[in-house]
């Protein structure tokens, strides 16, 4: 089956949002670091999901932490969404992925609107808002535009804001992303797999769920008023793991009828039932970053029996978009290659 054109359009459009994008690298989340460790499911996990990695034995994992930008230049200290892609290495060379980010919701709910979103977020020349304009904003009780980061000459923020002002569903994500900040460590951020999956219990019960990683070390961001530091996250993680593992708890939230099951722009209320599905211990920076970080190809639809994709159209579109991206950068083939 040939790759659907929309997937290629999406990838091309995302790449166009980063004029300095380097061929052969990921279109977004370009800068990353891979670490390894193991995941152990909780005692209750297996009663909710029959998937292999939820049965309780330790499962080796590779995790790629990343900055959200598609630029090849590292700006750890800039306010940006971060990624956490987890590969669970299962028996018989099987694997499943869980892809999460620090933003709690996605920007759009359909593929077509996401394509429009990427086009509208093209970077344009940016300069600090003048002092008189800032004063006018303050007098209107309006948030002044944030100053560009040191050295930043272009930004897609204005386009994002315009999009959100015309599309209410994008307002929450754009508003949250604007203030998301920079984590002091990749191990001190919460990561959300914003899409709905369907898990199957041993008795056949199927539940709509969403997953998130909660850092045991707690969430902490850098001081937004301090000058940002471009490179610190990789070294911090290496130093952290040299003394003790970084630990995350995998939480699974169960949706209810009436929740936005297939709309990733809507987070679910915190009142929903949350199940502790397991604990992730990361202890080693991968020795071969080329294989474990750059060439590895994650895919949110790489699932195993017991977990299925929902009817979330963005989740379904990501399957092919990730495959297009992999082909463009020559990543390791994934199970969907050639379908």
């Amino acid at each position: 089956m040939s790759t659907p054109p929309i997937a290629r359009q999406l990838v091309d459009s995302i790449i166009a949002d980063f004029p300095d994008h380097a061929a052969g690298t990921r279109p977004v989340h370009t800068i990353g670091i891979a670490v390894t460790g193991s995941f152990t499911a909780s005692d209750v996990a297996r009663s909710y999901c029959v998937a292999e990695h939820f049965q309780g034995h330790p499962v080796p994992v590779t995790v790629r932490f990343s900055n959200g930008s598609g630029s090849p230049t590292e700006h750890d200290g800039w306010s940006d969404v971060r990624g956490m892609a987890t590969r669970f290495h299962l028996r018989n060379d099987a694997a499943t992925d869980l892809i999460a980010m620090t933003l709690g919701e996605f920007f759009t709910k359909t593929v077509e609107s996401f394509l429009a979103f990427t086009k509208e977020s093209r970077p344009v020349a940016v300069s600090p808002e003048g002092p008189w304009q800032k004063i006018r904003d303050m007098l209107a009780l309006k948030v002044p535009l944030p100053d560009p980061m040191p050295g930043q000459t272009t930004s897609g923020s204005a386009g994002l804001l315009n999009f959100a002002n015309r599309h209410g569903y994008a307002q929450l994500s754009v508003f949250e992303a604007a203030g998301i900040g920079a984590p002091v460590s990749y191990a001190r951020a919460s990561y959300h797999a914003v899409h709905t999956f369907v898990v199957t219990a041993p008795d056949g019960t199927r539940r709509y769920v969403r997953f998130s990683w909660q850092p045991v070390a707690g969430v902490r961001t850098t001081d937004p008023t301090a000058p940002p530091i471009d490179k610190y996250l990789h070294q911090e993680l290496a130093e952290r793991l040299s003394t003790a593992p970084a630990e995350f708890t995998l939480m699974m939230t169960i949706g209810e009828t009436g929740d936005a099951l297939f709309d990733p722009t809507r987070p679910w209320p915190a009142k929903r039932v949350r199940v502790v599905m397991g604990s992730l211990l990361l202890d080693t920076v991968a020795a071969d970053q080329a294989a474990s970080c750059e060439h590895i190809s994650f895919n949110p639809c790489r699932l195993v029996p017991g977990i299925d994709v929902s009817d979330d159209p963005i989740l379904k579109a990501r399957r092919d978009a990730y495959e297009v991206s992999r082909e463009l950068r020559g990543g390791t083939a994934c199970p969907f290659h050639g379908e």
């Binding site: 009780l141 100053d147 980061m149 002002n165 209410g168 915190a270 009142k271």
Partner: protein, 237 residues
């Protein structure tokens, strides 16, 4: 943060932290924008929800201004509660849907905070039936309370009165404030067209509605009803 800023930029960036600007904002800007783009107070209590998880462990945050704001008046309110603890507790037991309830004095207000299951109106009806007489004694100490007592003879008015004193529960997700205000016709909702105005909409809501509950709150465990909790703990009912 930006390199190469001039002195005027630095002054302006620090302006919101200055006492002068804060005074101007408080005395001039907020009243001006409240007049120019009026925002009506959002109704109290949790928003309507159909999902079971949203109808369990709901919060009621009554803030009731005392008629007598002296220490004597506050003591009188404290005594009205303390002298009827048995009746209050027995009544709450009989309501059966209340997880927690407590009375608190905050400044010149008597507050009742409770966590209950199900519909608000039904909760208050049960409340009237079980401890209405005691509560009448409390409400008599509150501004405007005389108009709704005895509660057993003024059920609907009493429910409305309680609802009016129940704090508005701001949405869990920041931008939902805009859709809520638009849905209730509660004001300009100007940030729907310009997200940078969201803080102003929040400021104006808090100007019209000074006391609010920030979101629906944190839950460590899933939303079980009071009856389910007692049943699972094996402590009967």
């Amino acid at each position: 943060m930006q390199n190469g800023q001039g002195w005027l930029d630095r002054v302006v960036d620090r302006l919101p932290e200055t006492r002068l600007f804060q005074m101007v904002a408080r005395r001039v800007l907020v009243p001006y924008w409240a007049w120019r783009t009026p925002v009506a107070p959002q109704p109290g209590g949790p928003p309507f929800a159909a999902q079971p998880g949203d109808n369990l462990q709901r919060m009621m945050n009554l803030v009731m201004p005392l008629k007598d704001k002296s220490p004597i008046g506050r003591a009188r309110a404290a005594m009205a509660v303390a002298q009827n603890v048995d009746e209050i507790y027995a009544g709450l037991n009989n309501v059966g849907t209340v997880h927690f309830a407590r009375f608190v004095l905050v400044d010149d207000n008597l507050c009742m905070f409770s966590v209950y299951d199900g519909d608000f109106t039904n909760y208050i009806r049960d409340f009237i039936a079980t401890i209405g007489s005691v509560f009448d004694g409390v409400v008599a100490l509150i501004e405007g309370g005389d108009a709704v007592i005895p509660s057993e003879s003024n059920v609907e008015a009493f429910i409305d009165w309680v609802h009016a004193h129940d704090l508005y529960q701001a949405p869990d997700f920041s931008t939902d404030l805009l859709t809520e205000q638009a849905a209730t016709g509660a004001g300009a909702a100007s940030a729907q067209d310009d997200l940078r105005l969201l803080p102003r909409d929040l400021i104006l809501q808090l100007h019209a509605n000074p006391n609010v509950s920030l979101g629906s709150g944190y839950r460590f465990y899933p939303g079980y009803s009071a009856a389910q909790v007692r049943h699972r703990l094996g402590v009967g009912w």
